[in-house]
Symmetry: C2
Protein backbone atom coordinates (compact mmCIF):
# COMPACT_ATOMS: atom_id res chain seq x y z
CA UNK A 1 0.00 0.00 0.00
CA UNK A 2 2.62 2.53 1.06
CA UNK A 3 4.86 1.61 -1.82
CA UNK A 4 1.90 1.84 -4.16
CA UNK A 5 1.01 5.24 -2.75
CA UNK A 6 4.46 6.73 -3.22
CA UNK A 7 4.59 5.30 -6.70
CA UNK A 8 1.19 6.82 -7.49
CA UNK A 9 2.16 10.18 -5.99
CA UNK A 10 5.34 10.29 -8.07
CA UNK A 11 3.50 9.14 -11.17
CA UNK A 12 0.85 11.88 -10.92
CA UNK A 13 3.57 14.46 -10.14
CA UNK A 14 5.31 13.44 -13.35
CA UNK A 15 2.11 13.77 -15.36
CA UNK A 16 1.46 17.18 -13.81
CA UNK A 17 4.98 18.28 -14.69
CA UNK A 18 4.27 17.38 -18.32
CA UNK A 19 1.04 19.37 -18.30
CA UNK A 20 2.79 22.36 -16.73
CA UNK A 21 5.54 22.24 -19.36
CA UNK A 22 2.88 22.17 -22.08
CA UNK A 23 1.05 25.12 -20.52
CA UNK A 24 4.26 27.17 -20.55
CA UNK A 25 4.96 26.18 -24.14
CA UNK A 26 1.50 27.32 -25.21
CA UNK A 27 1.94 30.48 -23.14
CA UNK A 28 4.75 31.50 -25.47
CA UNK A 29 2.37 32.08 -28.41
CA UNK A 30 1.89 35.09 -28.26
CA UNK A 31 5.21 35.47 -26.51
CA UNK A 32 5.61 36.00 -22.79
CA UNK A 33 8.79 38.09 -22.27
CA UNK A 34 11.76 35.76 -21.75
CA UNK A 35 12.67 37.06 -18.30
CA UNK A 36 9.10 36.72 -17.03
CA UNK A 37 8.60 33.27 -18.53
CA UNK A 38 11.96 32.18 -17.12
CA UNK A 39 10.92 33.30 -13.64
CA UNK A 40 7.54 31.58 -13.93
CA UNK A 41 9.17 28.32 -15.04
CA UNK A 42 11.85 28.60 -12.33
CA UNK A 43 9.20 28.86 -9.63
CA UNK A 44 6.93 26.12 -10.96
CA UNK A 45 8.90 23.37 -12.66
CA UNK A 46 10.94 20.58 -11.17
CA UNK A 47 9.88 20.73 -7.57
CA UNK A 48 7.28 19.96 -5.01
CA UNK A 49 5.26 16.89 -4.16
CA UNK A 50 2.32 18.20 -6.21
CA UNK A 51 0.00 17.16 -3.39
CA UNK A 52 -2.81 19.50 -4.45
CA UNK A 53 -2.87 18.24 -8.05
CA UNK A 54 -2.68 14.70 -6.68
CA UNK A 55 -5.85 15.28 -4.65
CA UNK A 56 -7.68 16.69 -7.69
CA UNK A 57 -6.66 13.73 -9.83
CA UNK A 58 -7.35 11.02 -7.25
CA UNK A 59 -10.72 12.45 -6.19
CA UNK A 60 -11.71 12.62 -9.87
CA UNK A 61 -10.37 9.13 -10.52
CA UNK A 62 -12.38 7.74 -7.58
CA UNK A 63 -15.55 8.98 -9.32
CA UNK A 64 -14.38 7.95 -12.81
CA UNK A 65 -14.11 11.59 -13.89
CA UNK A 66 -12.20 12.70 -16.96
CA UNK A 67 -8.49 12.51 -16.13
CA UNK A 68 -7.33 14.96 -18.80
CA UNK A 69 -9.56 17.59 -17.22
CA UNK A 70 -8.31 16.59 -13.76
CA UNK A 71 -4.68 16.97 -14.79
CA UNK A 72 -5.29 20.44 -16.23
CA UNK A 73 -7.24 21.45 -13.11
CA UNK A 74 -4.43 20.00 -11.00
CA UNK A 75 -1.88 22.05 -12.91
CA UNK A 76 -4.01 25.16 -12.38
CA UNK A 77 -4.23 24.67 -8.61
CA UNK A 78 -0.46 24.12 -8.50
CA UNK A 79 0.07 27.42 -10.36
CA UNK A 80 -1.97 29.19 -7.67
CA UNK A 81 -0.06 27.38 -4.92
CA UNK A 82 3.30 28.36 -6.42
CA UNK A 83 2.25 31.98 -6.99
CA UNK A 84 1.34 32.19 -3.30
CA UNK A 85 4.71 30.74 -2.25
CA UNK A 86 6.57 33.23 -4.46
CA UNK A 87 4.70 36.17 -2.96
CA UNK A 88 4.85 34.86 0.62
CA UNK A 89 8.64 34.54 0.28
CA UNK A 90 9.06 38.23 -0.68
CA UNK A 91 11.07 40.48 1.66
CA UNK A 92 7.93 42.47 2.55
CA UNK A 93 6.18 39.23 3.53
CA UNK A 94 8.07 36.29 5.11
CA UNK A 95 11.48 37.21 3.61
CA UNK A 96 12.53 33.62 2.92
CA UNK A 97 15.68 32.55 1.08
CA UNK A 98 15.11 28.89 0.33
CA UNK A 99 12.18 27.17 -1.37
CA UNK A 100 12.06 23.60 -2.65
CA UNK A 101 15.81 23.43 -2.15
CA UNK A 102 16.57 26.44 -4.38
CA UNK A 103 16.99 30.18 -3.79
CA UNK A 104 13.57 31.83 -3.60
CA UNK A 105 12.31 33.54 -6.74
CA UNK A 106 13.16 37.11 -5.73
CA UNK A 107 16.75 36.04 -4.98
CA UNK A 108 17.14 34.06 -8.20
CA UNK A 109 15.70 37.05 -10.10
CA UNK A 110 14.68 40.22 -8.27
CA UNK A 111 11.69 41.52 -6.33
CA UNK A 112 9.88 43.17 -9.22
CA UNK A 113 10.19 40.07 -11.37
CA UNK A 114 9.04 37.86 -8.50
CA UNK A 115 5.95 40.01 -7.93
CA UNK A 116 5.09 40.02 -11.64
CA UNK A 117 5.78 36.32 -12.12
CA UNK A 118 3.51 35.50 -9.16
CA UNK A 119 0.80 37.72 -10.62
CA UNK A 120 1.12 36.08 -14.03
CA UNK A 121 1.06 32.57 -12.53
CA UNK A 122 -2.23 33.33 -10.83
CA UNK A 123 -3.64 34.64 -14.11
CA UNK A 124 -2.34 31.59 -15.97
CA UNK A 125 -4.15 29.31 -13.53
CA UNK A 126 -7.51 30.83 -14.42
CA UNK A 127 -6.69 30.92 -18.12
CA UNK A 128 -5.86 27.21 -17.90
CA UNK A 129 -9.17 26.39 -16.21
CA UNK A 130 -11.22 28.48 -18.65
CA UNK A 131 -9.52 27.05 -21.71
CA UNK A 132 -11.84 24.90 -23.78
CA UNK A 133 -8.94 22.92 -25.28
CA UNK A 134 -9.62 19.69 -23.39
CA UNK A 135 -13.24 19.65 -24.47
CA UNK A 136 -14.36 20.12 -20.86
CA UNK A 137 -17.88 21.52 -20.93
CA UNK A 138 -18.30 25.20 -20.12
CA UNK A 139 -20.37 24.66 -16.98
CA UNK A 140 -17.58 22.59 -15.46
CA UNK A 141 -14.91 25.09 -16.51
CA UNK A 142 -16.80 27.99 -14.98
CA UNK A 143 -17.42 26.04 -11.76
CA UNK A 144 -13.74 25.10 -11.45
CA UNK A 145 -12.78 28.77 -11.86
CA UNK A 146 -15.30 29.76 -9.19
CA UNK A 147 -14.09 27.13 -6.71
CA UNK A 148 -10.42 27.96 -7.13
CA UNK A 149 -11.04 31.70 -6.92
CA UNK A 150 -13.08 31.31 -3.76
CA UNK A 151 -10.35 29.19 -2.12
CA UNK A 152 -7.49 31.48 -3.19
CA UNK A 153 -9.03 34.87 -2.46
CA UNK A 154 -9.53 37.18 0.48
CA UNK A 155 -11.79 34.77 2.36
CA UNK A 156 -9.37 31.90 1.70
CA UNK A 157 -5.63 31.67 1.08
CA UNK A 158 -4.83 35.39 0.70
CA UNK A 159 -7.01 36.19 3.72
CA UNK A 160 -5.23 33.53 5.77
CA UNK A 161 -1.85 35.01 4.90
CA UNK A 162 -3.15 38.43 6.00
CA UNK A 163 -4.24 36.98 9.38
CA UNK A 164 -0.87 35.24 9.67
CA UNK A 165 0.99 38.52 9.23
CA UNK A 166 -1.32 40.18 11.75
CA UNK A 167 -0.65 37.39 14.23
CA UNK A 168 3.06 38.18 14.00
CA UNK A 169 2.20 41.52 15.58
CA UNK A 170 3.21 43.59 12.56
CA UNK A 171 0.28 45.94 12.76
CA UNK A 172 -1.18 47.87 15.63
CA UNK A 173 -3.86 46.13 17.64
CA UNK A 174 -2.60 42.56 17.17
CA UNK A 175 -3.26 40.24 20.08
CA UNK A 176 -2.50 36.64 20.95
CA UNK A 177 -4.77 34.23 19.09
CA UNK A 178 -6.90 31.50 20.63
CA UNK A 179 -6.66 27.93 19.36
CA UNK A 180 -9.94 28.51 17.55
CA UNK A 181 -8.62 31.63 15.85
CA UNK A 182 -5.42 29.84 14.81
CA UNK A 183 -7.44 26.95 13.41
CA UNK A 184 -9.56 29.44 11.46
CA UNK A 185 -6.46 31.23 10.14
CA UNK A 186 -4.97 27.93 8.99
CA UNK A 187 -8.23 26.68 7.51
CA UNK A 188 -8.06 29.78 5.31
CA UNK A 189 -4.33 29.92 4.62
CA UNK A 190 -3.66 26.28 3.73
CA UNK A 191 -6.86 24.33 4.30
CA UNK A 192 -8.99 26.14 1.72
CA UNK A 193 -6.78 25.25 -1.25
CA UNK A 194 -6.29 21.64 -0.13
CA UNK A 195 -9.99 21.04 0.32
CA UNK A 196 -10.61 22.94 -2.94
CA UNK A 197 -8.40 20.36 -4.65
CA UNK A 198 -10.66 17.56 -3.44
CA UNK A 199 -13.76 19.59 -4.37
CA UNK A 200 -12.45 20.16 -7.89
CA UNK A 201 -11.99 16.41 -8.22
CA UNK A 202 -15.57 15.93 -7.03
CA UNK A 203 -16.84 18.41 -9.64
CA UNK A 204 -14.82 16.73 -12.39
CA UNK A 205 -16.21 13.36 -11.23
CA UNK A 206 -19.73 14.83 -11.31
CA UNK A 207 -20.31 13.79 -7.70
CA UNK A 208 -23.89 13.67 -6.46
CA UNK A 209 -24.68 15.87 -3.45
CA UNK A 210 -23.96 13.32 -0.68
CA UNK A 211 -20.70 12.22 -2.30
CA UNK A 212 -19.71 15.85 -2.71
CA UNK A 213 -20.29 16.45 1.03
CA UNK A 214 -18.34 13.31 1.89
CA UNK A 215 -15.34 14.41 -0.12
CA UNK A 216 -15.62 17.94 1.25
CA UNK A 217 -15.42 16.55 4.82
CA UNK A 218 -12.41 14.48 3.83
CA UNK A 219 -10.71 17.51 2.24
CA UNK A 220 -11.32 19.76 5.22
CA UNK A 221 -9.95 17.24 7.72
CA UNK A 222 -6.93 16.58 5.52
CA UNK A 223 -6.33 20.30 5.09
CA UNK A 224 -6.36 20.91 8.85
CA UNK A 225 -4.10 17.90 9.44
CA UNK A 226 -1.66 19.12 6.79
CA UNK A 227 -0.99 22.40 8.55
CA UNK A 228 -0.39 20.83 11.95
CA UNK A 229 1.99 18.31 10.39
CA UNK A 230 3.73 21.21 8.64
CA UNK A 231 4.14 23.11 11.88
CA UNK A 232 5.54 20.03 13.65
CA UNK A 233 7.99 19.57 10.77
CA UNK A 234 9.06 23.20 11.09
CA UNK A 235 10.18 22.39 14.62
CA UNK A 236 11.61 18.91 14.13
CA UNK A 237 13.06 18.67 10.63
CA UNK A 238 16.25 20.24 9.35
CA UNK A 239 16.30 22.86 6.62
CA UNK A 240 18.21 20.46 4.35
CA UNK A 241 15.49 17.84 4.68
CA UNK A 242 12.69 20.27 3.86
CA UNK A 243 14.41 22.38 1.23
CA UNK A 244 13.15 25.52 2.93
CA UNK A 245 13.95 27.42 6.09
CA UNK A 246 12.86 25.72 9.32
CA UNK A 247 12.47 26.75 12.92
CA UNK A 248 11.35 30.18 11.77
CA UNK A 249 7.76 30.04 12.98
CA UNK A 250 8.69 30.49 16.63
CA UNK A 251 11.33 33.13 15.96
CA UNK A 252 8.87 35.07 13.85
CA UNK A 253 6.00 34.80 16.29
CA UNK A 254 3.89 32.83 13.80
CA UNK A 255 0.66 31.60 15.31
CA UNK A 256 0.68 27.79 15.27
CA UNK A 257 -1.24 25.21 17.24
CA UNK A 258 2.05 23.45 17.96
CA UNK A 259 3.36 26.65 19.52
CA UNK A 260 0.22 27.01 21.61
CA UNK A 261 -0.18 23.38 22.64
CA UNK A 262 3.27 21.81 22.37
CA UNK A 263 4.15 18.91 20.07
CA UNK A 264 2.44 16.16 22.05
CA UNK A 265 -1.04 17.66 22.09
CA UNK A 266 -0.62 18.76 18.47
CA UNK A 267 0.20 15.16 17.51
CA UNK A 268 -2.96 13.97 19.21
CA UNK A 269 -5.00 16.54 17.26
CA UNK A 270 -3.27 15.45 14.07
CA UNK A 271 -4.31 11.86 14.78
CA UNK A 272 -7.87 12.92 15.45
CA UNK A 273 -8.08 14.87 12.17
CA UNK A 274 -6.57 11.99 10.22
CA UNK A 275 -9.22 9.76 11.78
CA UNK A 276 -11.89 12.24 10.63
CA UNK A 277 -10.51 12.15 7.09
CA UNK A 278 -10.55 8.35 7.05
CA UNK A 279 -14.01 8.21 8.62
CA UNK A 280 -15.38 10.47 5.89
CA UNK A 281 -14.36 7.82 3.34
CA UNK A 282 -15.96 4.91 5.22
CA UNK A 283 -18.70 4.54 2.63
CA UNK A 284 -16.15 3.72 -0.06
CA UNK A 285 -14.36 0.41 -0.59
CA UNK A 286 -10.81 -0.27 -1.74
CA UNK A 287 -11.23 2.24 -4.59
CA UNK A 288 -10.67 5.02 -1.99
CA UNK A 289 -7.47 3.48 -0.60
CA UNK A 290 -5.32 6.03 -2.41
CA UNK A 291 -7.17 8.91 -0.74
CA UNK A 292 -6.89 7.08 2.60
CA UNK A 293 -3.14 6.73 2.06
CA UNK A 294 -2.98 10.43 1.16
CA UNK A 295 -4.49 11.31 4.53
CA UNK A 296 -1.96 9.12 6.35
CA UNK A 297 0.88 10.51 4.24
CA UNK A 298 -0.20 14.06 5.08
CA UNK A 299 0.02 13.31 8.80
CA UNK A 300 3.21 11.21 8.74
CA UNK A 301 5.35 12.89 6.09
CA UNK A 302 8.89 13.79 7.00
CA UNK A 303 9.24 16.51 4.37
Amino acid sequence: MTVDFHHRLASVASEIEDVLVTIFDVATTPPVPARLLGAMRYAVLGGGKRLRPFLVVEAARLLKGDLTTALRAGAAIELVHVYSLAHDDLPAMDDDELRRGKPTLHLAYDEATAILAGDALQTLAFETLADAATGTDAAMRAELVRLLAKAAGGAGMAGGQMLDLEAEGRFEGASELSAQAIAQLQAMKTGAILSCAVEMGAVIGRADAPTYQTLLSYGRALGAAFQIADDILDIEASSAELGKATGKDAGRGKATLVGLWGVEKARAELERLTGDALAALSGFGAEADVLRAAARFTADRRK
Copy 2:
Protein backbone atom coordinates in the same frame (compact mmCIF):
# COMPACT_ATOMS: atom_id res chain seq x y z
CA MET B 1 -22.68 64.88 -28.07
CA THR B 2 -19.78 65.75 -25.79
CA VAL B 3 -22.12 66.62 -22.94
CA ASP B 4 -24.00 63.39 -23.53
CA PHE B 5 -20.76 61.44 -23.51
CA HIS B 6 -19.52 62.80 -20.20
CA HIS B 7 -22.93 62.23 -18.70
CA ARG B 8 -22.93 58.64 -19.95
CA LEU B 9 -19.37 58.04 -18.73
CA ALA B 10 -20.27 59.33 -15.26
CA SER B 11 -23.50 57.35 -15.23
CA VAL B 12 -21.80 54.06 -16.04
CA ALA B 13 -19.05 54.84 -13.52
CA SER B 14 -21.74 55.27 -10.88
CA GLU B 15 -23.38 51.97 -11.79
CA ILE B 16 -19.99 50.24 -11.70
CA GLU B 17 -19.31 51.71 -8.27
CA ASP B 18 -22.57 50.18 -7.04
CA VAL B 19 -21.64 46.77 -8.45
CA LEU B 20 -18.18 46.97 -6.88
CA VAL B 21 -19.68 47.87 -3.50
CA THR B 22 -22.02 44.87 -3.78
CA ILE B 23 -19.13 42.57 -4.73
CA PHE B 24 -17.23 43.65 -1.61
CA ASP B 25 -20.33 43.18 0.55
CA VAL B 26 -20.78 39.64 -0.74
CA ALA B 27 -17.05 39.03 -0.31
CA THR B 28 -17.51 39.44 3.43
CA THR B 29 -19.52 36.22 3.74
CA PRO B 30 -17.42 34.22 4.59
CA PRO B 31 -15.42 37.06 6.06
CA VAL B 32 -12.39 38.61 4.40
CA PRO B 33 -10.08 39.87 7.19
CA ALA B 34 -10.91 43.50 7.95
CA ARG B 35 -7.45 44.86 7.15
CA LEU B 36 -7.35 43.09 3.78
CA LEU B 37 -10.89 44.08 2.84
CA GLY B 38 -10.17 47.66 3.90
CA ALA B 39 -7.12 47.77 1.63
CA MET B 40 -9.05 46.25 -1.28
CA ARG B 41 -11.85 48.79 -0.88
CA TYR B 42 -9.37 51.66 -0.49
CA ALA B 43 -7.72 50.78 -3.79
CA VAL B 44 -10.92 50.20 -5.75
CA LEU B 45 -13.73 52.43 -4.56
CA GLY B 46 -14.34 56.11 -5.18
CA GLY B 47 -11.90 56.81 -7.97
CA GLY B 48 -11.06 56.48 -11.59
CA LYS B 49 -12.92 57.18 -14.79
CA ARG B 50 -13.87 53.49 -15.07
CA LEU B 51 -13.00 53.65 -18.76
CA ARG B 52 -12.50 49.89 -19.11
CA PRO B 53 -15.90 49.03 -17.60
CA PHE B 54 -17.41 51.77 -19.77
CA LEU B 55 -16.07 50.08 -22.90
CA VAL B 56 -17.47 46.70 -21.80
CA VAL B 57 -20.89 48.20 -21.12
CA GLU B 58 -21.10 50.35 -24.26
CA ALA B 59 -19.87 47.62 -26.60
CA ALA B 60 -22.44 45.27 -25.08
CA ARG B 61 -25.17 47.93 -25.27
CA LEU B 62 -24.40 48.55 -28.96
CA LEU B 63 -25.22 44.89 -29.62
CA LYS B 64 -28.18 44.81 -27.24
CA GLY B 65 -26.36 42.45 -24.88
CA ASP B 66 -27.40 41.86 -21.27
CA LEU B 67 -26.41 44.93 -19.27
CA THR B 68 -26.36 43.21 -15.87
CA THR B 69 -23.74 40.82 -17.20
CA ALA B 70 -21.86 43.73 -18.78
CA LEU B 71 -21.77 45.63 -15.48
CA ARG B 72 -20.42 42.62 -13.62
CA ALA B 73 -17.83 41.99 -16.33
CA GLY B 74 -16.95 45.69 -16.23
CA ALA B 75 -16.46 45.49 -12.47
CA ALA B 76 -14.21 42.44 -12.94
CA ILE B 77 -11.98 44.17 -15.48
CA GLU B 78 -11.73 47.18 -13.17
CA LEU B 79 -10.62 44.89 -10.32
CA VAL B 80 -7.82 43.57 -12.54
CA HIS B 81 -6.87 47.11 -13.58
CA VAL B 82 -6.74 48.29 -9.97
CA TYR B 83 -4.74 45.25 -8.81
CA SER B 84 -2.16 46.05 -11.50
CA LEU B 85 -1.96 49.69 -10.39
CA ALA B 86 -1.45 48.63 -6.75
CA HIS B 87 1.38 46.27 -7.69
CA ASP B 88 2.97 48.65 -10.22
CA ASP B 89 3.07 51.35 -7.52
CA LEU B 90 5.07 49.14 -5.10
CA PRO B 91 8.59 50.25 -4.11
CA ALA B 92 10.13 47.29 -5.95
CA MET B 93 8.28 48.32 -9.12
CA ASP B 94 7.59 52.00 -9.97
CA ASP B 95 7.71 53.24 -6.36
CA ASP B 96 4.87 55.74 -6.72
CA GLU B 97 3.32 57.78 -3.93
CA LEU B 98 0.13 59.15 -5.43
CA ARG B 99 -2.69 57.36 -7.21
CA ARG B 100 -6.11 58.77 -8.08
CA GLY B 101 -5.29 61.71 -5.82
CA LYS B 102 -4.63 59.57 -2.73
CA PRO B 103 -1.52 57.98 -1.19
CA THR B 104 -0.76 54.71 -2.98
CA LEU B 105 -1.93 51.52 -1.31
CA HIS B 106 1.41 50.52 0.21
CA LEU B 107 1.72 53.97 1.80
CA ALA B 108 -1.85 54.00 3.12
CA TYR B 109 -1.30 50.47 4.49
CA ASP B 110 2.05 48.71 4.06
CA GLU B 111 3.85 46.72 1.40
CA ALA B 112 2.74 43.27 2.53
CA THR B 113 -0.90 44.34 2.67
CA ALA B 114 -0.63 46.02 -0.74
CA ILE B 115 0.81 42.85 -2.30
CA LEU B 116 -1.90 40.68 -0.74
CA ALA B 117 -4.72 43.07 -1.55
CA GLY B 118 -3.59 43.19 -5.19
CA ASP B 119 -3.45 39.41 -5.28
CA ALA B 120 -6.92 39.12 -3.77
CA LEU B 121 -8.35 41.72 -6.18
CA GLN B 122 -7.14 39.69 -9.13
CA THR B 123 -8.72 36.56 -7.65
CA LEU B 124 -11.96 38.43 -6.96
CA ALA B 125 -12.13 39.48 -10.60
CA PHE B 126 -12.19 35.88 -11.78
CA GLU B 127 -14.59 34.84 -9.03
CA THR B 128 -16.91 37.64 -10.16
CA LEU B 129 -16.81 36.49 -13.78
CA ALA B 130 -17.33 32.82 -12.90
CA ASP B 131 -20.23 33.53 -10.55
CA ALA B 132 -23.52 32.27 -11.90
CA ALA B 133 -25.52 34.80 -9.85
CA THR B 134 -26.59 36.96 -12.78
CA GLY B 135 -27.89 34.00 -14.69
CA THR B 136 -25.23 34.44 -17.37
CA ASP B 137 -24.81 31.14 -19.17
CA ALA B 138 -21.74 29.08 -18.38
CA ALA B 139 -20.24 29.27 -21.88
CA MET B 140 -20.22 33.06 -21.69
CA ARG B 141 -18.79 33.06 -18.16
CA ALA B 142 -15.96 30.73 -19.14
CA GLU B 143 -15.20 32.78 -22.26
CA LEU B 144 -15.09 36.04 -20.27
CA VAL B 145 -12.64 34.43 -17.81
CA ARG B 146 -10.47 33.24 -20.68
CA LEU B 147 -10.42 36.64 -22.41
CA LEU B 148 -9.58 38.58 -19.25
CA ALA B 149 -6.88 36.09 -18.21
CA LYS B 150 -5.27 36.22 -21.63
CA ALA B 151 -5.21 40.04 -21.58
CA ALA B 152 -3.92 40.29 -18.00
CA GLY B 153 -1.26 37.59 -18.03
CA GLY B 154 2.33 37.15 -19.13
CA ALA B 155 1.59 37.74 -22.81
CA GLY B 156 -0.53 40.80 -21.94
CA MET B 157 -0.54 43.31 -19.10
CA ALA B 158 1.93 41.58 -16.76
CA GLY B 159 4.27 40.87 -19.67
CA GLY B 160 4.09 44.51 -20.77
CA GLN B 161 5.04 45.68 -17.28
CA MET B 162 8.01 43.28 -17.37
CA LEU B 163 9.18 44.78 -20.70
CA ASP B 164 8.65 48.26 -19.27
CA LEU B 165 10.95 47.50 -16.33
CA GLU B 166 13.51 46.00 -18.70
CA ALA B 167 13.38 49.12 -20.87
CA GLU B 168 14.33 51.18 -17.81
CA GLY B 169 17.66 49.36 -17.91
CA ARG B 170 17.16 47.59 -14.58
CA PHE B 171 18.51 44.28 -15.74
CA GLU B 172 21.65 43.39 -17.60
CA GLY B 173 21.41 43.34 -21.37
CA ALA B 174 18.77 46.06 -21.75
CA SER B 175 19.06 48.18 -24.88
CA GLU B 176 17.23 51.14 -26.39
CA LEU B 177 13.90 50.13 -27.91
CA SER B 178 12.73 50.82 -31.43
CA ALA B 179 9.36 52.49 -32.03
CA GLN B 180 8.02 49.08 -33.00
CA ALA B 181 9.25 47.50 -29.76
CA ILE B 182 7.74 50.34 -27.70
CA ALA B 183 4.43 49.97 -29.52
CA GLN B 184 4.51 46.21 -28.81
CA LEU B 185 5.32 46.83 -25.13
CA GLN B 186 2.43 49.28 -24.83
CA ALA B 187 0.03 47.06 -26.75
CA MET B 188 0.70 44.47 -24.05
CA LYS B 189 0.87 46.72 -20.99
CA THR B 190 -2.21 48.91 -21.57
CA GLY B 191 -3.65 48.00 -24.95
CA ALA B 192 -4.48 44.38 -24.16
CA ILE B 193 -6.85 45.17 -21.28
CA LEU B 194 -8.53 48.06 -23.13
CA SER B 195 -9.19 45.99 -26.22
CA CYS B 196 -10.22 43.09 -23.96
CA ALA B 197 -12.90 45.39 -22.51
CA VAL B 198 -14.36 45.90 -25.98
CA GLU B 199 -14.04 42.17 -26.73
CA MET B 200 -15.90 41.28 -23.54
CA GLY B 201 -18.69 43.60 -24.62
CA ALA B 202 -18.74 41.86 -28.01
CA VAL B 203 -19.00 38.45 -26.31
CA ILE B 204 -21.80 39.66 -24.05
CA GLY B 205 -23.56 41.10 -27.11
CA ARG B 206 -23.11 37.75 -28.90
CA ALA B 207 -21.42 39.47 -31.82
CA ASP B 208 -21.18 37.53 -35.08
CA ALA B 209 -17.66 37.02 -36.44
CA PRO B 210 -17.43 40.15 -38.66
CA THR B 211 -18.84 42.39 -35.91
CA TYR B 212 -16.40 40.84 -33.43
CA GLN B 213 -13.49 41.68 -35.75
CA THR B 214 -14.80 45.20 -36.24
CA LEU B 215 -14.96 45.82 -32.50
CA LEU B 216 -11.57 44.21 -32.00
CA SER B 217 -10.04 46.65 -34.52
CA TYR B 218 -11.72 49.53 -32.72
CA GLY B 219 -10.45 48.30 -29.34
CA ARG B 220 -6.88 47.88 -30.54
CA ALA B 221 -6.71 51.32 -32.10
CA LEU B 222 -8.27 52.90 -29.01
CA GLY B 223 -5.84 51.01 -26.75
CA ALA B 224 -2.81 52.24 -28.68
CA ALA B 225 -4.18 55.79 -28.75
CA PHE B 226 -4.81 55.69 -25.00
CA GLN B 227 -1.17 55.05 -24.16
CA ILE B 228 0.18 57.80 -26.40
CA ALA B 229 -2.32 60.25 -24.90
CA ASP B 230 -1.24 59.08 -21.44
CA ASP B 231 2.42 59.68 -22.23
CA ILE B 232 1.69 63.16 -23.60
CA LEU B 233 -0.27 63.92 -20.42
CA ASP B 234 2.67 62.74 -18.31
CA ILE B 235 4.74 65.50 -19.92
CA GLU B 236 2.15 68.26 -20.14
CA ALA B 237 -0.23 67.92 -17.21
CA SER B 238 0.45 68.73 -13.58
CA SER B 239 0.43 66.13 -10.86
CA ALA B 240 -2.56 67.88 -9.22
CA GLU B 241 -4.60 67.59 -12.42
CA LEU B 242 -3.86 63.88 -12.85
CA GLY B 243 -3.95 62.77 -9.23
CA LYS B 244 -0.74 60.83 -9.75
CA ALA B 245 2.91 61.67 -10.22
CA THR B 246 3.80 63.21 -13.60
CA GLY B 247 6.98 63.87 -15.52
CA LYS B 248 8.40 60.64 -14.17
CA ASP B 249 8.59 58.71 -17.42
CA ALA B 250 11.58 60.65 -18.71
CA GLY B 251 13.38 60.72 -15.35
CA ARG B 252 12.92 57.01 -15.01
CA GLY B 253 13.99 56.14 -18.53
CA LYS B 254 10.56 54.74 -19.41
CA ALA B 255 10.26 53.83 -23.04
CA THR B 256 7.55 56.00 -24.63
CA LEU B 257 6.81 56.97 -28.19
CA VAL B 258 6.57 60.59 -27.08
CA GLY B 259 10.11 60.34 -25.71
CA LEU B 260 11.33 58.82 -28.96
CA TRP B 261 9.42 61.06 -31.37
CA GLY B 262 8.65 64.25 -29.47
CA VAL B 263 5.16 65.57 -28.77
CA GLU B 264 4.34 66.75 -32.27
CA LYS B 265 4.90 63.47 -34.07
CA ALA B 266 3.23 61.61 -31.21
CA ARG B 267 0.13 63.80 -31.60
CA ALA B 268 0.01 63.00 -35.30
CA GLU B 269 0.17 59.27 -34.51
CA LEU B 270 -2.56 59.75 -31.91
CA GLU B 271 -4.75 61.38 -34.57
CA ARG B 272 -4.07 58.54 -36.98
CA LEU B 273 -5.02 55.90 -34.39
CA THR B 274 -8.17 57.77 -33.43
CA GLY B 275 -9.05 57.83 -37.12
CA ASP B 276 -8.50 54.06 -37.26
CA ALA B 277 -10.82 53.56 -34.29
CA LEU B 278 -13.53 55.69 -35.92
CA ALA B 279 -13.05 54.01 -39.29
CA ALA B 280 -13.57 50.61 -37.70
CA LEU B 281 -17.05 51.75 -36.64
CA SER B 282 -18.04 53.08 -40.07
CA GLY B 283 -20.52 50.26 -40.65
CA PHE B 284 -22.57 51.38 -37.65
CA GLY B 285 -24.99 54.30 -37.52
CA ALA B 286 -25.74 56.69 -34.67
CA GLU B 287 -26.01 53.77 -32.24
CA ALA B 288 -22.17 53.68 -32.17
CA ASP B 289 -21.80 57.40 -31.41
CA VAL B 290 -20.96 56.68 -27.78
CA LEU B 291 -18.04 54.47 -28.81
CA ARG B 292 -16.96 57.11 -31.32
CA ALA B 293 -17.01 59.71 -28.56
CA ALA B 294 -15.03 57.33 -26.34
CA ALA B 295 -12.28 57.19 -28.98
CA ARG B 296 -12.18 60.99 -29.21
CA PHE B 297 -12.25 61.31 -25.42
CA THR B 298 -9.32 58.89 -25.16
CA ALA B 299 -7.24 61.06 -27.49
CA ASP B 300 -8.28 64.47 -26.14
CA ARG B 301 -8.60 63.91 -22.41
CA ARG B 302 -6.80 66.27 -20.07
CA LYS B 303 -6.64 63.84 -17.14
